[in-house]
Symmetry: C2
Subunit: 344 residues, 2 copies
DNA sequence: GTGAAAGCGCTAACAC
DNA sequence: GTGTTAGCGCTTTCAC
């Protein structure tokens, strides 16, 4: 930072005080429109650049929100961040970005950084590694607004924005039933994560709603990797009663399933249907293209940002208000992998 | 921000001055280790939280760098940002993120935001829409370090980090020649962007280096979309002499080419080879999997961050130094779409 | 509608 | 090795 123009320079030239200049630049209604005009004119003339740091220090508002994600390289989080940034920047709020790389210790460091930067609020998605969330609890003690998105703690009473995994899973399974599949399997993920638990529950509920008996043999648990999907196919084809469709809790496992089925020369979608979850970019482009459940990532970011900003603004006035949880609608994307009996 | 503990509170309790506390917290060598210990102990006891804003205002260093990208939703930029953040946060620098959405006016606004936030330096990738870059030039006038990555201006004298598009294209084309393709086409992009121009030049150079005559009919220009790729296949198969391989300047167009070839039941890679550029995630998962040129996105981010940080640190001492341009090695990823004559 | 003056929390030059 | 002092550039009472 070089020696730069300050409001005092403007004040001196205009023979008024810096207080008036400050008010004029902030369109304070008590300042005459003529003074405002003069000040802004002079500011432009002198190439004045406001110092947001000084303003923050004095006013106690940083106009910055901290965004903590596992990794910007993951498509999902990149999209959410895009949504967050769109809303924030349109409201003049800056984004401080921090990546946890799925590590709890970096997560703690991130909160420290946000606290030192005096962010007005925090948007975060929890690292996979994290089991104890006391570092997040400290935030409520310090009265700094926090909204969690996508990854949350079931027993942590904080506003969240998630998509309805249960409903998405229900709809995906119902879709498989609707198009005529009879014996529907599920590849499920780590149950400690509420997302995957809800997807399993949604799957089960859809079967029940259609009076289809539940067969535990048809539920394959894994890490939802491509490899896991391939392995699940081996497993399913080893059963006495082979399924004719599968709902995978994530697209990468669905991709593995498709690969496994192709190796076995199973005809999709006629002899076997596959639907995933996440609507990853590759889904549209593989063959057969993959039906999936879209998580409305950008919308999730926008919604979380709006919620946080509301909290920031209202915390000025009221102190206690009820926790808000926002649940977004999952969107069914029907593609070739389940396009049996359907004119696409 | 609530009323919080300051260095004065620590000073009072310890019956020393706030100056000493400040020095102790910053491990100033002139302070006795005993005092440092006591101060840090008391700080922890009082739950002291340093105020980075006050520190920045006084010291003139924000310890923040501005990162401007078209969109965090684009895989490429998400990955670069990941690399940038990894380096920065390990050095205690914060990231202020701004998206241009490919718009020049937002780009200008972003620079304004960075200037007001008094960032120590800026990393940016230019919006597609931008033709006049005077807003970037203002930064050099203000002596704020700037590094451009991926998208740059040929005639703008500023440090850049890019991958060697020319070499990547050369290597991709050479690979097609090596595995035995004879008549190699190119799908090229907007030539005003240096990236695509360099890829075209690399393609031509490889042909020349192998004494293959250049046929302008084999160069199809488009927007590099999937649709563009499909259209290029129609075009190529309308020629008297049909090519037997194509180097596409981006993966999405390569995907379109693969789709077009599949529709025509052309055997890949035996009768036709396809190689793309960018190494998008989907490339591994489509069928045939797509050979491509990897752009080392995370490495690009890390490199750009390191370069900027060097500039920030050296600008303290020297004022004039020569512009540094860093060119990263493109990485050839051979997959099924060109795996003729190769044991993969 | 504008001025005067204090101070946000920290750092750093200058003492000794 | 520590104290003293003076701000960084802005906002914000309190005047009138």
């Amino acid at each position: 930072m070089l020696k730069s123009i300050t409001i005092h320079d403007i004040a001196r030239e205009l023979k008024i005080t810096s207080g008036t200049v400050s008010r004029a630049l902030n369109d304070n209604p008590r300042i005459s429109s003529e003074t405002i005009r003069l000040v802004k004119e002079k500011a432009k003339e002198l190439n004045y650049q406001r110092n947001a740091i000084a303003s923050s220090l004095r006013s106690g508002k940083s106009h910055t929100i901290g965004v903590m994600i596992p990794s910007a390289q993951m498509n999902f989080f990149g999209s959410v961040v895009r949504g967050i940034e769109m809303i924030s920047s349109s409201l003049g709020l800056n984004i401080l970005l921090y990546q946890t790389e799925e590590s709890t210790s970096l997560e703690k460091k991130g909160i420290e950084v946000f606290l030192e930067a005096k962010v007005d609020g925090i948007l975060a998605s929890i690292a996979k590694e994290t089991t104890n969330y006391s570092h997040f609890k400290d935030l409520s003690a310090k009265a700094i607004p926090l909204v969690l998105f996508d990854r949350t703690f079931a027993d942590f009473n904080v506003p969240t924005v998630v998509i309805d995994d249960y409903k998405g899973a229900f709809n995906a399974t119902q879709h498989l039933i609707n198009v005529g599949y009879k014996r529907i399997a599920h590849v499920s993920g780590p149950q400690q994560l509420s997302n995957f638990n809800n997807r399993l529950r949604g799957y089960l509920a859809a079967l029940r709603a259609n009076e289809i008996s539940i067969d535990n043999e048809l539920i394959y648990s894994g890490d939802l990797s491509i490899q896991c999907g391939i392995a699940s196919v081996e497993y399913f084809f080893g059963l006495k009663e082979i399924p004719d469709a599968v709902f995978a809790a994530e697209d990468f496992s669905a991709l593995g399933i498709i690969k496994g089925l192709k190796d076995r020369k199973v005809n999709m979608p006629n002899d076997f249907g596959v639907i995933g979850f996440a609507n990853e970019t590759f889904g549209e482009h593989i063959s057969p293209s993959l039906s999936s459940v879209d998580q409305q990532t950008v919308e999730m970011g926008k919604t979380a940002a709006r919620l946080l900003i509301n909290m920031i603004n209202s915390s000025k006035t009221e102190t206690s208000k009820k926790i808000q949880d926002i649940v977004l609608e999952p969107l069914l994307k029907i593609r070739e992998s389940t396009a049996i009996n359907l004119a696409l």
